[in-house]
Amino acid sequence: MMAETTRPPEWAEALLWWCLKSTNREDVSGDLLEEYRASIVPSRGKAAADAWYVAQVAGFLWRATWLWALMFSALFVARTAYDWRVPTTDFATRSAVSSWSGVAVWFIAAMWTAWRSRSFTAGLLIAMITSQIAAVMSVVGAAILLAVWHDAETHSAIAGSGGLAEVFTLPFMMIVPALIVGGVGSAVGSVGRKVSSALVG
């Protein structure tokens, strides 16, 4: 197969397309494709070149999501620490504050991405990926908390606030609300951009 016509994995190209700003899509994806075809495929072969391409796309995705993921996981870890150190039986206020804060992060992430990329799908995708990167960060953060605080009192507080299983599985289940909130944020962002462009001319 000629290197000049070889294509990287389609799904990776699509992911890259979605996570770039609409103004940079063509030149950035072109640069990556040119490097893939002109340098990487001839020197490393198709399979290794595909892996290289996927790694580059992962780098772009990481840049588009890490800050939102860090914000969300910081909220989760802070709430976890608060529940463990200041136990309560009335979680209503805490839940309201942490849930709405998390919703705000997903909403803004999706809206901002959809706005800059002019793509509803991009916003939705970034919200979903953010939720899963945040899940990994949250679990790592909670594990560090557990390594620091593992006395009987803390274990009792953990049991009273849902247990360890919840701490380590709940973040990954957040993909469902992230999808819903991300969808709303993306819709607002992409429609807002269209309206704004129409008004500006």
Binding site: N24, D27, V28, G30, D31, L33, E34, R37, R63
Partner: protein, 112 residues
């Protein structure tokens, strides 16, 4: 006030300077990799280029595409006067910090 440039920003600006009319994303990436003697992610170079354009240190224009890029346009970068000033300031700052110190340091230390 002069812009404070990071080392990576300087590497990217100098790559644009060296490449002159051929300063587009992939060429800049390769030049930076060569100068820094390490693998650099394409995303790191592109986000830096974007930031430097935003800071007013670089200007950019779209060129034509080529078949190997599936016809996708190249974006060419050029230093703006503010970019030249920022590079000069960065070099001057480093020179000023090092003034009076014998280089390389190993030699200087052995003579103490």
């Amino acid at each position: 006030m002069a812009d404070v440039l990071g080392a990576f920003e300087q590497a990217v600006l100098l790559a644009v300077l060296r490449l002159d009319d051929e300063a587009y994303g992939r060429a800049i990436l390769k030049e930076v990799q060569e100068r820094l003697e390490r693998d650099v992610a394409a995303g790191a170079v592109h986000s830096t280029l974007e930031r430097l354009v935003r800071k007013g240190l670089l200007s950019s224009r779209l060129g034509s595409g080529t078949p190997i890029r599936a016809g996708r346009a190249r974006r060419y970068y050029r230093l703006r006067p503010a970019g030249v000033r920022a590079l000069n300031d960065a070099r001057e700052a480093v020179d000023s910090i090092w003034r009076g110190v014998t280089w390389p340091l190993v030699k200087a230390m052995s003579s103490v």
